[in-house]
Symmetry: C2
Subunit: 489 residues, 2 copies
């Protein structure tokens, strides 16, 4: 990787790191470099061979990155990438983010760059309307939205707001009595946020789900848990419901959970990181039914709405509840705009103080493409996933483990005999199959375990993926199936 | 601002948001747009007039941004921006970040894009060596570095690690007995991190500083506070020392504080967000003396090392202490590389799971410019600030309030009479002066209050600032001084 001082511009005389001509030349070169990368994207193995360190070379910079970094990368933009959830991207987002980087405002409060805050508020209101959130989440109604980095931050911030709300009601005592709730399908970041916030592990309820409920959290299970806690002198404080879980895109019934939680005064947050983007399409919007009764909802356009990493939207119904729990007021940031009470200071809506101008890329994606294109984008991915699902279902050796809801297909090779031994064999064979397919270098997919089964996750939706990639991917699974069984028997 | 659906590309047929030719054309246009912006940067008022909403227009996108967003922005890249701390930028960082956005890997763990993790570890080791951190902070010695968004995240993560360390030693009980320490000059994000982590306000010690100590935290004050807490049955857990405070770039004596804290087993973190970058120059490195005895240190190259927002480096001496307090292990992320124990999974070093490829821009800044240029960049800003300080000192009506240490000058007009009334008048006059200067639109500076005095902060160092800008700025202050006095008397 060369060394720090083998640099391409070592003269300290007249160092001007933002010289316009230099920038123009380097930036245009970078763009051509990126275009060449995209053109050849399928020539890179999706996921690299296991090697725990990058090797050492020394050459001019872009070619150095190409020679040294590319071979060790997992290429998330490769259309044969079907792992995790895809991170989608677009020209509008790339250009918006480049411009935001060039402007480089640090808009911690309104005054530090008013239009940055205003554009963010406007864009969040637009997106709220696009996925038809209730009016209560708009700024005009006392709610509002903010751009954060990831769902983890949204959960942590709303958890802190919920703690304050519940403790104030209970008389500011008993932080050790607060209990939080989620299902066994909730993203691990929920447990991590609880750990960071100092919620004792004994007060975190991870409620089991079942295959017959398609791995959704049952409202009666939540109610029973809250009743038991209340009877034990504890305070139900926070529920994290998920619309589109990471394992299998299970959807927790938002209305039922909100109803159950309301009796106990707990804050309800909806994590729609992945599936929230699908709600730009009318046919998916019903998954958010009941959201008019929750306190907050987050979704990540960096997952499925073409903005690139990182971009997570958080909306709250009562913005004062969030900001009073996160606000700071140091002398060096005091200003008349803040004192007027008429402006939004986003530092009080997030963990950090400084923040990037993330709104610009989201704004440009929405403004440049518009509703019809965004719906078309979601629809196209869902159609490709449906095609994959149908190919799996048509092949008797395979089964779709849970019905596909969005663009993730959870499937496996069926067990060859009934009972625990048969299941264990199937787990081993499916694990082997996934390894073989990934080792081919042709595609990359990942796994999960749900309902005790080892399941292959096939997530459709990198921006460049087309039907032909999905078809070839399925053929790879199908063709390697027999060998996988043989290898484990 | 138009509306969502007045978009420039509304046809849902054949929507391909990452079409290479479209991207090439739009990206090159964006770059030319940015070059024009930089060329005309001084024609924009640094800080806009107060207006609580952006107005409505509708036109093609980049010109829409120019017409609607620019007039409402505070222009952080304007060379006449002297507010807060500057956010520095460079061509290498912009190109590196653009490439990172185009690659768009979500490198939460090693396997999800190995080279992204490897490059980050390498780059953090390089920067540690550049500012001569002790070997204990390098990966080879069991330490290591990570890129986070901001100092807030670094403080919160290390606070969580400290809590686990101290509670384990104390026998896993008594979270309500943990006490944390900082000075009254520590950034407000410290108190916010404590609030998020659930540290009770009664257990947060904000220790006063004094002008005669140049607003540094005295080790004997820390020791006395810890002794009193220990005598009261409490557990000293965490100290946040600052090298270069936000108000006045005060430097807490790292060695003395580490010595005091070591008797009580508290974790010591050094926040060198701003001044850490200066330590690439040998003449400033002594401010970190004693860092060999602390547990963690963070600095933000987005402040003063040309990387653009956001980019905060956190190094820890014992990486296992950090990762065991933040790790998660969901089934869908399990993989052989993680199980081998031979790789770094950065999701266990931060709050979130997903993460941007921030290392690329920091790598490109260091690799492209090298030590000599980075030193020259810091030296040039310091020289300009020294020039400003000398102009202030040469003018009898003004005074430098605390000696300049880096590139921030804290100054004011002197009181015209001795005593409290004279101080109050001076506060009013200086406040008025700053308002008048900022309202001129020519420059932007901010204020603080230290030692009870209203003080103007003049922070030199946007990437495009030259000596002539500093000179004109000083003339503005000098020329408006008399009128400011008159206005308040």
């Amino acid at each position: 990787m060369g060394s720090l001082d083998a640099n391409c511009n070592a003269s300290p005389r007249g160092f001007s790191p933002l010289d316009i001509d230099d920038f123009r030349q380097q930036a245009h070169q970078t763009i051509e470099f990126i275009c060449e990368y995209y053109k050849g994207i399928e020539s890179h193995p999706v996921v690299p061979r296991w090697s725990p360190a990058i090797s050492a070379v020394s050459s001019p910079m872009l070619s150095e990155v190409q020679a040294t970094v590319f071979p060790g990368m997992t290429h998330w933009t490769n259309p044969n990438f079907f792992a995790y959830f895809p991170a989608t991207l677009s020209s509008a987002a790339l250009c918006g983010d480049l411009l935001a980087s060039a402007l480089n405002p640090v808009a911690f409060n309104w005054l530090s760059s008013p239009a940055v805050t205003e554009l963010e508020s406007l864009t969040l209101d637009w997106l709220a309307q696009l996925i038809r959130l209730p009016k209560g989440f708009l700024f005009s109604a006392g709610g509002g939205g903010v751009l954060q980095a990831t769902t983890s931050e949204a959960i942590l911030c709303t958890l802190v707001a919920a703690r304050k709300m519940v403790l104030e009601r209970a008389g500011h005592d008993g932080a050790d009595k607060l209990v939080v709730y989620a299902s066994d399908q909730t993203h691990s970041t929920f447990a991590k946020a609880c750990k960071i916030a100092g919620i004792a592990p004994a007060n975190i309820r991870i409620i089991p789900t079942a295959r017959e409920d398609l791995f959704s959290l049952r409202p009666d299970s939540l109610r029973a848990a809250m009743e038991a806690d209340t009877a034990g002198g504890l305070l139900p404080a926070y529920v994290c419901a998920t619309v589109g879980t990471t394992s299998s895109t299970a959807v927790d019934p938002v209305a039922g959970l909100a109803e159950a939680a309301s009796r106990f005064g707990a804050w309800v947050h909806v994590d729609a990181a992945y599936a929230g983007s699908a709600c730009v399409c009318p046919e998916f919007r019903h998954h958010l039914d009941g959201v008019d009764r929750v306190d907050s909802i987050s979704m990540s356009p960096h997952k499925w709405l073409l903005t690139g990493l990182d971009c997570c939207c958080l909306w709250v119904r009562d913005r004062a509840r969030l900001t009073t729990s996160l606000s700071t007021d140091p002398e060096y940031l005091k200003n008349r705009a803040t004192e007027s009470g008429a402006v939004v200071d986003y530092k009080d809506w997030q963990i950090g103080t400084g923040r990037r101008f993330r709104a610009l890329k989201l704004f440009m994606v929405m403004r440049c493409y518009g509703t019809a294109n965004l719906q078309s984008h979601i629809g196209s991915d869902v159609r490709m996933a449906r095609g994959f699902e149908e190919m799996v279902a048509a092949e008797p050796r395979f089964e779709v483990v849970v019905p596909r809801r969005f663009a993730l297909v959870c499937f496996r090779m069926r067990p060859r005999r009934v009972g625990a031994d048969g299941e264990a064999e199937a787990d081993a064979a499916n694990r082997r199959l996934l390894e073989e397919v990934n080792n081919s270098g042709g595609i990359y997919a990942t796994h999960t375990v749900i309902g005790g089964m080892y399941v292959i996750r096939f997530a459709v939706g990198t921006t460049l993926t087309q039907e032909r990639h999905v078809k070839v991917a399925w053929e790879l699974f199908r063709d390697k199936a027999e060998a996988a069984w043989e290898a484990v028997q």
